[in-house]
């Protein structure tokens, strides 16, 4: 029984890692940029949500909408202010650029929200429900549900819509995508809006579980990075499975081994993957990415 309860918690935590990894992966797949500001974007989303719920806890559902809008706007800013000027520069310059964006977002967050941790209400409150003798926090179920909806939405966007085919064509061969008329700049802008919105939602999902401060996203981003490696860098299903796997490893490791080692367990797992299966669980065939 205890194990099932733990697994539900692990799935909730893993879902948040999965959404963060999805944000990271979508940006990487479409633009080739490894976004080192993901953690700070997660934090920004949580803080925007915190401000909305601070007005009144009944606004918690509205907070999700507000975060999507605010973070999409931030994504557009990211596209215009960082991606466009840097996109033809060497990879290292672009990476440093995203780190700089992260620092900027973090400092602006600090200016607006200050250093004190903020408590954030969940749209489903902080109750627990009893299910067949299990005690499950309603927020954990909510997180899992929202994540499933997001994954389905991303799936339909990327794999079942004409726009998604254009996205995948662009990811596989940008030059040829331009030759067939794919509006590449518009798609890059959309990519950053989507990546930022997903990161923001991840932050808002996490917020009721932890107190929110400007450092909230930092460790989350590291876990999402581990999730991307374990799932297979460059694979969208991999990001999702990797996120869940990291959540399971962390929660089960913490309860069966020792909670002081939970981060170490995750990173040990990541290093094992790097050593023995660098393509991750869903390593794509090289031919797919030719």
């Amino acid at each position: 029984m205890l194990t099932i309860q733990l697994i539900i918690n692990a799935l909730a935590v893993g879902s948040i890692y999965a959404v963060t990894a999805l944000s990271f992966e979508i940006a990487y797949e479409s633009t080739g940029v490894v976004n080192f500001s993901t953690g700070q974007l997660v934090t920004a989303g949580a803080l925007v949500g915190a401000s909305v719920t601070a007005i009144g806890p009944h606004l918690a559902p509205v907070a999700y909408l507000a975060v999507i809008v605010a973070m999409a706007a931030l994504g557009l800013l990211f596209f215009v202010g960082a991606y466009l000027p840097l996109r033809n520069r060497p990879v290292l310059t672009v990476i440093i650029g995203t780190v700089a964006v992260g620092i900027l977002v973090q400092n602006v967050s600090l200016l607006i929200w200050g250093p004190l941790p903020i408590a954030v209400a969940s749209p489903v409150g902080n109750a627990t429900i009893r299910l067949a003798g299990l005690v499950v926090p309603t927020h954990a179920l909510f997180v899992i549900l929202v994540t499933m909806v997001l994954i389905l939405a991303v799936y339909f966007l990327l794999y079942r819509s004409p726009l998604g085919t254009q996205f995948r064509a662009l990811a596989q061969d940008p030059e040829t995508a331009r030759l067939i008329g794919v509006p590449v700049m518009r798609l890059y802008a959309l990519t950053w809006m989507l990546a930022c919105a997903l990161a923001g939602i991840a932050g808002l999902l996490l917020a009721p579980m932890w107190f929110v401060d400007v450092g909230l996203g930092d460790s989350l981003a590291l876990k999402a990075f581990a999730a991307a490696i374990i799932g297979g860098f460059g694979s969208i299903p991999g990001a999702i499975i990797g996120g869940i796997a990291v959540g399971l490893a962390e929660v089960l490791g913490a309860s069966y081994i020792s909670s002081s080692y939970k981060d170490a367990i995750v990173f040990a797992l990541m290093i094992l993957f790097l050593l023995f299966r660098p393509q991750g669980l869903f390593g794509e065939r090289v031919a797919d990415r030719a």
């Binding site: 085919t165 254009q166 995948r168 067939i180 794919v182 030719a290």
Partner: protein, 235 residues
């Protein structure tokens, strides 16, 4: 329809095109011949906007293309089936064709008509419509590259070495289709090293050497031209 005048392109210090003049009239199939490194691909890339000319002009229906981006040229009616086909490896045959229609907006139901037309032209693509691009043979990839370009309902079709890397029989098959296509009076600029096949399909041809047009004329004339016979037809 398409006209290049005094086109010069350089890669750093290398001058790939040195003042090329070329026209393709509406409904005409024109071949561009030349050896490895002559600058054929460079010319097509300049027309579709992937490389910036250093000087000279490219006109589509009398309008200069200037610094227009490749994706906008695609929407203006230039479809380019690039060298080595460049099929999207992770997309299925059907998705490769669908995405090929990106340049034509508001296609809606007519998309199916266009798909049917491509499938009728290359029945093998219809059989393999759910297969991923990377899993196709070279010949099938070439058919797909041509089909994908046709999905854009182009005003001008640029084809870069459609016979490249194909077994003779397959190359022949592709050229039979190209001949049919040329009969539909679609405007084509065909780059090819396989001179005999290209001259059989095109009505006129240009010969490019070291970035300069050295000869041009009707295909029938060029076929009998001593220089072409010696250098390009291996006779």
């Amino acid at each position: 329809m398409l006209r290049c005048s005094n086109l010069c392109v350089s890669y750093g210090a290398v001058q790939a095109l040195k003042g090329v003049d070329l026209t393709v009239a509406e409904g005409e199939c024109v071949a561009l011949l030349g050896a490895n490194g002559a600058g054929k691909t460079t010319l097509l890339r300049a027309i579709s906007g992937l490389v910036r000319p250093r000087s000279g002009e490219i006109l589509l229906q009398g309008q200069t293309l200037g610094g227009m981006a490749p994706e906008r040229r695609a929407r203006a009616g230039i479809a380019h089936a690039p060298e080595r086909r460049r099929i999207f490896p992770g997309l299925t045959v059907l998705e490769n064709l669908q995405v090929g229609a990106t340049a034509v907006r508001g296609l809606g139901a007519r998309m199916q008509e266009d798909l049917d037309r491509v499938y009728a032209m290359f029945p093998r693509l219809a059989e393999r419509r759910t297969q991923r691009g990377w899993s196709l043979s070279g010949g099938e990839q070439q058919m797909l590259a041509i089909g994908r370009a046709l999905m854009a309902r182009p005003r001008v079709l640029l084809l870069d070495e459609p016979s490249l890397g194909l077994a003779p029989l397959l190359a022949e098959e592709v050229y039979v289709r190209l001949a049919d296509l040329a009969h539909t009076r679609i405007t084509i600029l065909l780059v090819e090293q396989n001179t005999a096949m290209a001259l059989a399909v095109a009505s006129r041809a240009y010969v490019l050497e070291h970035g300069e047009i050295v000869l041009h004329g009707a295909s029938a004339e060029l076929m009998d031209h001593p220089r072409v016979k010696e250098a390009y037809l291996g006779a």
